[in-house]
């Protein structure tokens, strides 16, 4: 599982994930992903276009860190999941909890928008 970081001009952090977000992949990025998305107030766009497979451990990683980000008054959105990954996220209801965008511009706008109080 590969993780690359880009700091965008609007202060958002774009994190590109590539590979399989299965048990092995989630373990490989867990600590670094947490530091990057949830250790301080951070607005993160997680680019999933390079993720070929999403297992429950991958979902757990996203959920755990999205929660932590919001507790620190930051936010997280997901960007461009492949069709099979999007299907998993939707079937598991994750799309209703962590927004999924299909353009970087939309993601950058949405991540800086305070989420509704109920989420």
């Amino acid at each position: 599982m590969e993780l690359t970081i880009t700091q965008l001009d609007n202060g958002t952090r774009k994190i590109d994930l590539a590979g399989r977000l299965d048990l092995e992949g989630a373990q490989a990025i867990d600590l670094k992903f947490t530091v990057l998305t949830a250790s301080e107030r951070t607005f993160s766009v997680i680019d999933l276009s390079g993720v070929e497979f999403m297992a429950s451990m991958g979902i757990a990683t996203l959920v755990r860190n999205a929660k932590a980000a919001r507790l620190r008054e930051g936010n997280m959105v997901l960007l461009n999941p492949q069709a099979n990954v999007a299907k998993v996220l939707t079937a598991m209801g994750i799309d209703r909890l962590i927004p999924i965008c299909y353009s970087l511009a939309d993601a950058c706008t949405l991540v800086l928008t305070p989420p509704p109080a109920t989420t």
């Binding site: 299965d22 297992a55 429950s56 757990a60 929660k67 079937a91 209801g93």
Partner: protein, 138 residues
């Protein structure tokens, strides 16, 4: 691998083996003529079933697991068999889809995944072995 025939393979219970499981499954599933959706469902369920054994195995954890795939007329049956201590994952309350991020659990999602993507899920204890079987349409 004979097209469409039942198949069995043994894998080590190790996170690094999950990708080998997926590769073997896809090879069999393509030879059996499964749709792409069916291949994806099978891979997800297999990943979760074996991942569950890896995560929750403690004392008495099995060293290996057998995967048995059997084509049915309109469906596929996949069994994951291990010789660890009795463990029926279906007895454990699966995580529920949360209404909000705050109430969504970040653990216990594997069973929910299997229930979501398999059409049926069953467990039995057979000669000191756990047998978890799931089926889905071809």
């Amino acid at each position: 691998m004979t097209s469409g025939a039942s198949a069995t393979k043994t894998f080590a219970v190790d996170a690094h083996q999950l990708r080998a499981v997926s590769a073997w499954w896809h090879e069999w599933a393509r030879s059996a003529g499964l749709t792409e959706e069916a291949r994806d469902r099978g891979e997800l369920c297999l990943n979760e079933a074996i991942g569950n054994i890896i995560e929750h195995g403690a004392a008495g954890a099995p060293q290996s697991v057998d995967v048995v795939v059997e084509p049915l007329e309109r469906a596929v049956s996949v069994s994951v068999i291990d010789s660890g201590a009795r463990f029926n994952p279906l007895e454990h309350q699966p995580a529920e889809r949360g209404r909000s991020l705050a109430t969504t659990p970040d653990r216990g999602l594997g069973i929910l995944m299997m229930r979501t993507f398999a059409e049926s899920l069953s467990y039995r204890r057979d000669h000191d072995r756990n047998v978890l079987t799931f089926t889905f349409s071809r």
